[in-house]
């Protein structure tokens, strides 16, 4: 019943959005040839840079695997990625929930992490046959275990309800955390795989006399930009579903 409802709602949203989509396509069709050529050039350059950067990835991965084998630790599972598109936002103004155009038929399951271009953006909470709902990390009911990349310090990053801010409470005022530190998923709890970038620390407020520092961070991926996201389809299979 829930599956059917998710699909029906997404389908209706698609119907309402159809005229707008058609308009977008019409505008795109008349986009000038020059603009498209520029775009191709830019993408080619970007592709070349990215290719250059990934050349060493294969060797690094196998090297890493060898070291891990030496250390007798389990090899990281390579994640399978499903490309999905954000079709609409939930109308509930208190939540940060998006509707994606991939569902159970594409291997999407509850609890799977959702990645944006520059890092983690959320997780799947409701799955229909061909659509699903994902809650973003900034939703004020969402929290995820993170780690400071520089020092390995573990913490919980909570959503603030504002689209560009995460908060970390309950860090001792003497903790080593600085503005600009990158927060990555720590993998604790088994929900999110280890090592995806989440946010960057934007300010650390230490009030003298308070036991805890107040840390704010900005998500690495702009959560309100872009339409394409990646759903990590393998990582959450071993974890049981707990409420986000």
């Amino acid at each position: 019943m829930q599956r059917g409802a998710t699909d029906t709602v997404a389908f209706t949203a698609g119907l309402v959005l159809a005229p707008l989509d058609a308009w977008d396509r019409l505008v795109a069709a008349f986009e000038s040839r020059n603009a498209l050529q520029d775009e191709v050039l830019r993408l080619e350059q970007e592709n070349r840079v990215l290719k250059g950067q990934t050349q060493r990835l294969a060797s690094l991965l196998s090297e890493n695997a060898r070291y891990k084998a030496l250390l007798n630790s389990a090899r990281d599972i390579e994640d399978e990625l499903v490309v999905a598109q954000i079709t609409s936002l939930s109308p509930d103004p208190a939540r940060h929930v998006v509707i994606l155009d991939k569902g159970a038929a594409d291997g999407v399951m509850e609890g799977q992490p959702v990645l944006g271009a520059e890092g983690l953006i959320g997780q799947i909470v409701l799955v229909g046959e061909y659509n699903s709902r994902a809650v973003l990390i900034t939703d004020s009911a969402h929290a995820l275990p993170v780690q400071v990349n520089r020092s390995g310090l573990r913490a919980i990053a909570e959503g603030s309800g504002a689209i560009d801010r995460l908060v970390i409470r309950h860090l001792a005022a003497t903790t080593d955390i600085r503005v600009g530190d990158l927060l990555v998923t720590s993998g604790l709890g088994g929900r999110f795989p280890h090592g995806y970038p989440v946010a960057r620390v934007t300010n650390v407020t230490i009030t003298p006399g308070d036991a805890f520092a107040m840390v704010n961070a900005a998500p690495s991926s702009a959560l309100d930009r872009g339409r394409h996201v990646l759903v990590v389809a393998r990582a959450a299979q071993q974890s049981d579903s707990t409420n986000p």
Binding site: A5, L89, S90
Partner: protein
């Protein structure tokens, strides 16, 4: 004993009002979305209290929750309570002019969203921030066009 006539207009208008929820708006502007569905419900309760009432309010609330992906039953109790209040007082509210009626609508919306906030608080879902009140004020202004559109269609299709 009177039989319903053209009651499809009622349900069509409620569905159309629900579709308004799908219109895409920027993330920060969702808070300003007026409660067209609730206003439509209140209009029909006011005009045809023998056709539309607490049961319709309950169904509408369930559909709203499905669309929002909220826990089922989050918005029904508030809408049902507001409809009930309107059912007790429709004869008086009908005598008011449009401006006065829109204030009544504001009170009804405050009542229904108040109950919803209370439920959200109770089951630990994020509550709507205080700026959500702006949406209620906007809804109050929407009462005038909503009322005139529905009134025209009611008379044109002779809904009773």
């Amino acid at each position: 004993m009177n039989r319903a006539h053209a009651s499809w207009v009622i349900y069509l208008s409620l569905v159309a009002a629900l579709l308004v929820m799908f219109i895409p708006v920027p993330l920060e502007w969702r808070i300003l979305r007026p409660e067209i569905a609730a206003l439509t419900l209140f209009y029909w309760t006011l005009a045809l209290p023998h056709r539309v009432g607490v049961a319709t309010a309950c169904t509408l609330g369930l559909l709203q929750d499905l669309i929002e992906g909220a826990p089922i039953g989050l918005s029904s109790p508030g809408l049902m309570l507001a409809t009930l209040v309107l059912l007790f007082s429709y004869q008086r509210v009908r005598q008011y002019d449009v401006a006065q009626q829109s204030f009544v609508m504001l009170v009804l919306l405050l009542l229904s969203s108040g109950v919803e906030q209370w439920l959200r608080n109770g089951i630990d879902i994020p509550v709507i921030p205080l700026s959500g009140m702006l949406a209620l004020l906007l809804s109050m202004l929407c009462w005038i066009p909503v009322r005139s559109i529905l009134r025209h269609s009611r008379r044109h299709y002779e809904v009773y």
